[in-house]
């Protein structure tokens, strides 16, 4: 992994009775995102102690590539489907690698 790329950690908190629906929507964005220009890695995780906590760990070649990600059909589609299924707004944080 490069130390100059952008890292993103995005948490998506499902309502307790909507975990399976949220999981299916999030799984559906992984492969198309990995094919986006500038996407260096993109993984979907689920918290072992709290199955409502889905988290993406992302690596992008540039800030521009990550901005473009939000304009893709797969992400805009997911963002339309998710709001009623989530317990909170997605928590998206952008990071620099220190080491």
């Amino acid at each position: 992994m490069s130390n100059t790329s952008l890292r993103v950690i995005a948490r998506v908190a499902a309502k307790a009775d909507r975990v399976e629906q949220v999981r299916a929507i999030l799984m559906g964005v992984v492969e198309p995102t990995r094919r986006e220009p500038g996407c260096l890695s993109y993984q979907l995780l689920q918290n072992q102690a709290d199955p409502t906590d889905f988290t993406f760990i992302e690596e992008w070649a540039s800030t521009a590539a990550e901005v473009s990600h939000f304009a893709t059909p797969h992400i805009s589609g997911a963002l339309r489907q998710l709001p009623g299924l989530l317990a909170a707004e997605p928590d998206i944080r952008r990071y620099t690698v220190l080491m």
Copy 2:
């Protein structure tokens, strides 16, 4: 990256006037941790919008390896130094890779 390994995301929130001290302590644990058995990757990040937010992204070969990590001199030493410098308890979450 393996899909069967354990992923950990650990957030360490520094007090606003202790960011440099916390950063130095956290930087000091990276290289010894990477030499631990079962440590597959270990990166230290800093939030671009909030410099008090330090976050480790970790990959461990097993739960046992990650448990042993807390008994090492570098981590127990850091955990002794950090409490007065932090705005909150470290937030350590363990994840399974969905895809």
